[in-house]
Symmetry: C2
Subunit: 213 residues, 2 copies
């Protein structure tokens, strides 16, 4: 968001005026810049380009991160942090609320969280390069969100169809694919994915005889 104060004192502050920041602050600034940078160009982006974008020397980066890999690790942490709200498992299994409402609320919040340029692209890049954090995230998602969701669908099901984990992944994948089209493939997409999501959820529930619409 804020790459630099940019204007402080004089209206036109000659750029590249050496600016001294508290280490913690500078570190965070570098991480934020690195997230945006690597999201855009991939993890093979050059440290010199990142430094230039930050308005800082390349050597400065190595004062805060011993190696480029260490910086990338920090980027991972920053991006993966808090991507799964801890209260979702509870809210998804709160049977005092209709299942459809729970599902729509979850995917409404989740999609605004993940349908973002930085997340989508860094998640995909790290997945491609085999980052362990990626599989950990997906396992976690499966364990604390999708598996309980399967239980809820089973519980609410009125038709003979018994849902499977693959069915849940299919629902999830169909929704996530919107974000992939938008930020990875950069293909024309609806500005507001919520109607597509709602319809997907309703189709899914209908198949198991759950129609609260």
């Amino acid at each position: 968001m804020d790459i630099n104060g940019q204007a402080e004192g004089s209206v036109i502050e000659e750029r590249s005026a050496r600016r001294r920041l508290p280490p913690q602050e500078r570190r965070q600034q570098i991480i934020d810049g690195a997230v945006a940078f690597f999201a855009e160009v991939g993890f093979d982006g050059k440290t010199r380009d990142l430094a230039k974008r930050l308005g800082v020397t390349q050597s400065l980066l190595f004062n805060y991160f011993a190696t480029k890999d260490e910086l990338i690790e920090a980027v991972y942490e920053q991006v993966y942090l808090n991507r799964l709200a801890p209260d979702w498992p509870d809210r998804l299994t709160d049977r005092s609320v209709p299942l459809r409402g729970r599902l729509l609320a979850f995917y409404s919040e989740y999609s605004t969280l993940i349908f973002q340029y930085e997340w989508m692209r860094i998640f995909m890049s790290s997945g491609l390069s085999g980052a362990e954090l990626n599989r950990r995230y997906l396992k976690h998602l499966g364990d604390v969100i999708l598996r309980p969701l399967l239980g809820e669908i089973e519980f609410a099901a009125r038709s003979g169809e018994i849902p499977t984990m693959e069915d849940i992944w299919n629902l999830h994948g169909g929704i996530v694919y919107i974000g992939i089209r938008q930020h990875i493939y950069r293909t024309p997409c609806p500005d507001d994915p919520s109607v597509a999501i709602t319809r997907a959820v309703d189709r899914f529930l209908l198949a198991f005889g759950i129609d609260e619409a």
Copy 2:
């Protein structure tokens, strides 16, 4: 498949025996190797590593491709070529066959075509790096497969729901996501995706009152 003849005459042919191939053949061998190589490590893979894997000098690559980018273009062509069978549009709109059968036949063939390591990873890599070929492919897919499919669903629909293009993309995305989990994220997946696909298609048809199951 065949990196080298490997055994010809003597049982143990000392490797790195200089082997002279017809240019066309060598070129194809390089392309095939490059597809596998770049699929695995991404397009920032080094030409020296690729050459080593081919059992050939790095400089040889530049006798067949002026630049690395040109080699990558050849990889694109090789991978994207014939990924969409030209008879699918016709078969998908052949109303003498039940829609469900057409859909299942299409996704059965299509999934075996695209749920492959090389395709999935190169398609995703090229998408991330903004390759034009990627968007072209998706536009083509939308135009010649998914759009006609929308027409077929509309025609067969028995419920009040009117399908939209986004609904079709959702069906498609949910299915493709299986391949993404398998080859990009390397997450546990069903060996045979056909049951998941069948169930997804059936849920979709059911939502529009099309149940021929």
